[in-house]
Symmetry: C2
């Protein structure tokens, strides 16, 4: 079943108003949830919406909270998120980073006590739309196993890197786990094995069974020891800048709320657009259509879904209609 | 055979003076080469020194060249490297990024037409020693295969993230290939297979044979499609900021010279040191000594090598003594 983008967005808005969002904020968050589904990131669009509503009802996300600036030193700021909706805080922070980059060439805004930003790529696209390079990262609850260990002690700490481009922005949006838990849920839903090992089973053996890995919460980081180090450094950078909760704190709290995030915007030098095309062309050369740049398939899905409607999980869609 | 740090450094200095380095620059580059060996990164210390000397003699590296600032916008600068020694340019750029961060909270310096920085971690340690968070990255000649492709079209584009810490800085220094070519050379030298697939053989099959991968120049990026995207984005960020040569340009040129790099320094918020310790402790908890933070084993090797001397490849050491 396909649903039109505007209908999806309107339903989200209706529900958010009902659970206490004021008008502008409901509109913003509804748009982002709908855009995530529109771009094919169902795990952070419609499919995530019901659990977002529950997080609001459980008091983990406070719909009316406002973020506040805590410290500022020219191009570097840190903010307190006050547990406002993660989407709202993240949009605000990237907007501020872009403003700072407009003034100083680069801007960096960290935020503590914020909430899940849903799809990280949103804020990369936001920077690219404004004509800026964007880099952002967040920490999460522990569900990745450090190299040499057997217990989940690292977040899958996604990072986003975005570059504006006339023919379609280049946006890398990746979790540090080889497969995001959302992706593993999709494989599990389809009763498929993962193409490569994605984590450990309960006995500590590498596994391609998404169900076993979701159960053990022991995802494998990309590149074994390399992603293990990268996940740790993202958490450390975030904590060092924001003073916010670490993956350790979030994990001990038992719910993925009150996370730490960072948003960097950089003004690209003008006149280098042809060099970016050269990279895209060289990378693809000799590989026909098998090699894509990050963001390419997103754009393709977006165009299809805007034309033909967004394919939805009917059960979840009906749940939302009945909210 | 072990050689004392000071003797190694003095020999490097002697050779660099002989091939046209002026005094201060010879001292700086000799120190960095010796420190790389001291920290156990032999591939970018003694073992790399002879090919660095050849690059100078071949005119790829110009010992007396000076970098120049091209553009400046408050916290963001871009520089022209003029093919000066990569170590010298990189130290200069990170110093400047640190200065900018001291003024604006964050500083970002990109440089084009520079040369191989040897061990990227050097500039992470430099930032951390100065009390700053450091992030840097470089592009390289193409030797990594993009996901979905079969030809080397991406650089192994190393990235470094460093965080200062009283008990030992945390410094992640990683190439985007699952194994750096230096590491694969070490396995090949010891006639050992790689523990995990590290690239493709000439027929395009995933392989654990370091010799076959070095021959094909088709390394596997960390995390398959994820590292493929990350490598591409690093090249694009560098190009967009510096206007310098892309991995495509460097590869077409046939020699790894005139590369593009970027150096970011950020002022950490004071008072968050205990949170960093919490991350280190939580990550290690339940894993005894099997889990290490990035930089931990570097520090252990440094201490051992300063006490007991640096183990050297005798053939290479004799080559240097005879230069």
């Amino acid at each position: 079943m396909n649903v039109d983008f505007l209908i999806l967005r309107e339903e989200f808005r209706r529900v958010l108003l009902k659970i206490g969002f004021e008008e502008a904020r409901a509109e913003l968050c509804a748009r982002i949830f709908a855009e995530n589904s529109r771009d094919g990131v169902h795990t952070h669009g419609l499919n995530r919406f019901p659990s977002f509503v529950r997080a609001v009802q459980d008091g983990l996300v406070i719909p009316s909270a406002e973020p506040e600036r805590l410290t500022a030193m020219a191009a570097l700021e840190s903010w307190e998120g006050n547990l406002a909706p993660g989407i709202y805080n993240a949009i605000r922070c990237m907007d501020r980073a872009i403003e700072l980059a407009g003034e100083y060439g680069i801007g960096c805004v960290s935020i503590r006590n914020t909430n899940h930003w849903m799809r990280g790529g949103t804020y990369g696209w936001q920077a690219a739309e404004a004509g800026y390079l964007g880099i952002c990262f967040t920490n999460t609850i522990a569900n990745v196993t450090p190299w040499g260990g057997s217990e989940p002690r690292l977040g899958n700490n996604p990072m986003v890197i975005a570059v504006p481009r006339a023919e379609g922005h280049i946006v890398l949006d990746m979790a540090i786990s080889q497969y995001s838990f959302g992706k593993m849920q999709e494989y599990k839903f389809r009763n498929e094995a993962l193409p490569f090992a994605g984590g450990y089973d309960a006995e500590g053996n590498l596994s391609q069974d998404p169900g076993k890995i979701i159960a053990s919460q022991r995802a494998l980081p990309i590149g074994y020891w390399k992603g293990s180090g990268l996940s740790m450094l993202i958490d450390i950078l975030l904590t060092s800048l924001s003073g916010g909760r670490t993956t350790a704190d979030i994990t001990k709290g038992g719910a993925e709320s009150g996370v730490s995030q960072c948003f960097i915007a950089i003004k690209p030098e003008s006149g280098n657009e042809a060099l970016i095309e050269q990279i895209v062309e060289f990378t693809k050369s000799g590989h026909q259509d098998a090699v894509r740049y990050p963001g390419e398939s997103t754009l393709a899905k977006r165009n299809t879904h805007l034309k033909e409607g967004i394919p939805v999980n009917e059960k979840i869609w009906n749940d939302v209609l009945n909210m």
